[in-house]
């Protein structure tokens, strides 16, 4: 993957892409909208299906980079297959190094069937230096479970680097768009970043967002299934 970038000395990156309940995409796109962030670049890959979105005459590539003050955001409107996930993670890491980004916050959904209407948030950190964020913001630590796909690719890339990552998981419905879960993720992020974000706009659009993003949800479920199939735990050789 190639990154077209603008050099900056900023320090925090938020990242969201289609995953369970589309939580990451809803959350970061709302933050981009609310903070009126400026698009400063994009991530390209020759294996990405050729797709562009046009909105009010503006051409939007599927993986975009936004910035405002010391905050960067990378958002993807396209789910990744297992092969692209690692390339994407490496591109994000490369971008962080190039731009002197000190830490990243990734937002994703945690699969929960029959979930409580009160969304729970869990956090996972790659480096101990970010543990205090969990305690200060009363975020439960993600203690056990398996992670696969793009989430795992990002975590893997950053845990081996010197840039720490905090992964914020919001409980959500895995197969239906769940903007309600992202409202909780937005509030949690606002608390961590010590900024004020009014979630009224997304709250009043929750039902319509669920209809609007059926197609992206279908594509995401297919990609997640591909990722899961590839990551099925294998029995040790001796038992085959």
């Amino acid at each position: 993957m190639k990154t077209k970038l603008t050099k900056n000395d900023s320090s925090v990156l938020l990242i969201g892409f289609p995953s369970n309940g589309l939580v990451g995409t809803f959350t970061v796109s709302y933050i981009i909208h609310y903070l009126n962030m400026e698009m400063i670049g994009e991530i390209e890959h020759s294996d990405l299906p050729p797709a562009l979105f046009v909105e009010n005459g503006e051409i939007l590539p599927p993986i975009r980079i936004y910035k405002k003050d010391n905050l960067f955001v990378i958002i993807s409107d396209q789910p990744f297959d297992p092969y692209l996930a690692n390339d994407f993670a490496q591109s994000v890491l490369h971008y962080c190094k190039e731009n002197n980004i000190r830490k990243i916050f990734m937002i994703s959904g945690m699969e929960t069937i029959n979930r409580d209407p009160k969304t729970k948030i869990y956090g996972l950190v790659t480096h101990q230096t970010l543990e205090n964020i969990l305690y200060e913001n009363q975020i439960s630590k993600f203690l056990g479970g398996s992670i696969f796909g793009t989430d795992a690719a990002i975590i893997n890339a950053f845990r081996k680097s010197n840039i720490p990552a905090l992964i914020i998981y919001a409980e959500c419905h895995p197969f239906f768009p769940d903007p309600e879960a992202s409202v909780k993720a937005i509030s949690t992020l606002a608390q961590i970043l010590k900024i004020k974000i009014d979630t009224q706009d997304i709250e009043k659009r929750i039902e319509r967002l669920r209809i609007q993003h059926r197609n992206l949800m279908e594509e995401t479920v297919k990609a997640l299934q591909q990722q899961q199939e590839r990551k099925q735990p294998r029995a040790p050789q001796i038992y085959r």
Binding site: R205, R208, H213, N215, E218
Partner: protein, 129 residues
């Protein structure tokens, strides 16, 4: 009520129709999720913008379950400069023969419909000698 405009839309991908959506009859196809358990099937249908009283569920002699729902507000999608209007959800799903039609139950909460479809107990116990 018409869909309110919001600049929030501009950072999202454009709304796309599902291939099963029908512009002429103004029917949207809802997302569904089916899971098989040992004793039953679980069918979940995402029905945002719908009230419980506006949902009808039927099953025919071939075990085809049909879910119809009316939206409480019209939903619009822009497609190539045209504004398409939708007012309904519809989904047809076929189930195998061994379901117990009389014991199907349905629950609707937070815009999600859950149907529990019990399986009929068939077969007999085989004695081990």
């Amino acid at each position: 009520m018409e869909e309110e405009n919001s600049s929030f839309q501009s950072v999202f991908p454009l709304t796309q129709l599902l291939s099963q959506d029908d512009e002429e009859t103004q029917i949207l196809s809802p997302l569904t999720f089916i899971k098989e358990f040992e004793t039953h099937w679980l069918l979940e249908v995402d029905l945002p913008l719908v009230k419980k009283d506006d949902i009808t569920i039927t099953i025919d002699s071939c075990n085809l379950i049909t879910i119809n729902a009316k939206l409480k507000e019209k939903f619009y999608i822009e497609k190539l400069g045209n504004r398409l209007q939708f007012q309904f959800f519809r989904k047809n799903i076929s189930f195998p023969v061994n379901i117990d039609k009389n014991k199907i139950s349905a629950k609707f909460s937070f815009g999600r419909l859950s149907l529990t479809i019990p399986k009929k107990k068939v077969g007999r116990r085989i004695k081990v000698e």
